[in-house]
Symmetry: none
DNA sequence: TCATAATCGAGACGGTACGTCGGGTCTTTGT
DNA sequence: ACAAAGACCCGACGTACCGTCTCGATTATGA
């Protein structure tokens, strides 16, 4: 999972002129996550620039909207959490997956940007597309392969995999975003039990 | 289900000054729903007032934010759809409930205000509270009594009712708001089948 | 000097319907003078109505602008101060006249409305005309006859009477409105001495 | 006489950001004078900005009220008219002074802003202070030295200099602002003759 | 006595301008 | 070439006052 919008400074081909400051980039992304978690979902470049001690112009150079910046920040902060042992039982892998999602939706430093992205997705088509493509779709794809394997080996009740995906993920997002319901480990367990064939 | 923020003009107790125009109120609410379905979720009083042929100050007199107005509009437009025959089988009643929700999430004139409310709920705490209290909570409460009855009479698998509620509703909202997934009759059926004890 | 804009309630020909409240009229005019002397020259009907404990509608019924109201108030409060003994020496009569003007420009309850009228006269043509016709012109006319008599009997140096009028009155208004210069009895004396032929 | 409220852009010490556009400043001041002379004394930033083809926010950046702007415009347009030959007879110098004032009070492009400033001075204390300090006071001070010299060399009748100042200037302003009396060369001559010892 | 008619208070409504805020673009100097 | 600073335009915001209007309540007159 690489940075999407902002060019990757680490691998940049050395051109003429002053190189981009990697330290500044990180400071800005951190500031974005921090601001959005402190002052609410509708952040502007203004606030982020100020929190980062950077100039507004600089932000405009690298991101075309605060949402892009926050998506970068979010992806940066979760880029290591995707690796999954491939030879575990399907339900165990799914559980790991869901736990990871639950963790993201619980930690303020990831939940707040995510909520801001969701808010933007509901307002602007471009943000909607980006949110779906770069955040939801990959996670749904990963879950889909697992669920299909589970159905074929009989551990998951046979049904439309997309419905299964929604049954597993939608409650998490719904609670995190709209209901203030707790996202406990129990919740993941209960959701998995509902779509599993054998009850443990 | 009554109008929440704007006083009901029809039953007004005839006080001193010029009475409020009920016709104007309706025109404004309709304009709100229309504008939000045409131009996207972040509407301002400006646009609504113009579309309604009303003055901006009039809107400010009755609603303190566009979200309040849209919530009023939404509640007005669904206020008749709650009645349910009380002696049907539980699953049938649940199905009616979910179909009603699915209809709201499908018709642009209700879906668009709802989406705008959801967007606002993610940005402002006040909007979050209002959205939950006046929209989500009543519907969850109605579903909860049905689900509890279903569990006790054995037609629904025993588990935490709140999880059941989420399993039924969250996928609908998730598809309507974030995924562009279709909200078909099939979907409702499949969700119900998942939590039902006997498969038809 | 009668009230200009608002019909005189005391002498009104008895018609059908509820008669106008003279007490209310006075309360409003007083409130106008009071408000303008307390909160500055740009008063609106809003403020006056509130100060008078009257309805804005009532003010609109009787005056078409706050300036008209203030002119009424001003004329009411000075209507007795014009009588002058006709057989005094000219300079004495002029002095009485100027003293009266100086008193008006000194007492806050007349000075403030006058200043407001002047301010309005500089902004709106209608107010300018009313201010000139109903306030300045009568006073200039009275002074003019005195000055012409003074010139013909040799007590005032012969020159354009209009210039004399300006020399006598303009400094008073200038000091009252723009300079914060004192309007003392001395001032009137010195002005008169300048245009008089024999120095006392 | 320098610009009072808006920093002088020509001599700016070249700092970091984008420099202020001197051309825009002039366009705004000109627009201010033009608008006030065409549409009357109560101008807002709105109208001036539109006439200048500038943004309202830009006006707010540099002036805190339309009056400040108009004072700047007025001072800009008269800044060269103060120089006076120092070795003329006192009455001639005074005459030059008064002629200059009369010219300002006659030309619509200076008279209109001046009238607007006077109107503001009658309504707001801050405007009053600015009008007195930056417009009236300097001119009175200049006149005062002349008059004192005239008194000491016997060409002006001995009296309080402040009264002389008022006798000379107040009629001009009074006619320009309230009476619609003509401000002719004759007027200045007659006023001077009144305070002079020897009649030419 | 009762209809008539005007005053007066209250408040809705459309409209205009206000002063502010943030977004996005540009122009300059500094690194 | 990057970065900071700041001018500039634009649009929307929430407010305030204006002027008009539609009511109900009151208070007098005249049939």
């Amino acid at each position: 999972m690489c940075r999407v919008f902002s060019k990757d400074a680490t691998q940049a081909p050395r051109v003429r002129g002053r190189p981009r400051s990697a330290e500044l980039r990180k400071r800005i992304l951190d500031a974005g996550a921090r601001v959005v978690s402190e002052t609410g979902a509708d952040v502007g470049f203004e606030a982020i620039a100020q929190a980062a001690g950077a100039s507004r112009t600089t932000l405009y150079r690298w991101w075309s909207s605060p949402e892009e910046l926050l998506l970068d920040a979010l992806l940066d902060s979760v880029q290591s959490s995707i690796a999954i042992a491939p030879d575990m039982p399907v339900l165990m892998q799914l559980r790991t997956h869901l736990d990871s999602a639950a963790a993201i939706l619980t930690d303020p430093l990831t939940w707040a940007p995510l909520r801001a992205l969701a808010a933007a997705a509901l307002s602007k088509d471009a943000a909607h597309a980006a949110f779906y493509e770069h955040w939801l779709a990959p996670r749904r794809a990963a879950a889909r392969t697992l669920i299909e394997r589970g159905i074929s080996d009989g551990t998951i009740i046979p049904a439309n995999p997309d419905v299964h995906i929604d049954v597993l993920f939608a409650p998490l997002y719904h609670r995190a975003l709209f209901t203030n319901g707790a996202i406990s480990d129990n919740l993941v367990d209960e959701l998995l039990r509902i779509i599993a064939t054998h009850q443990p």
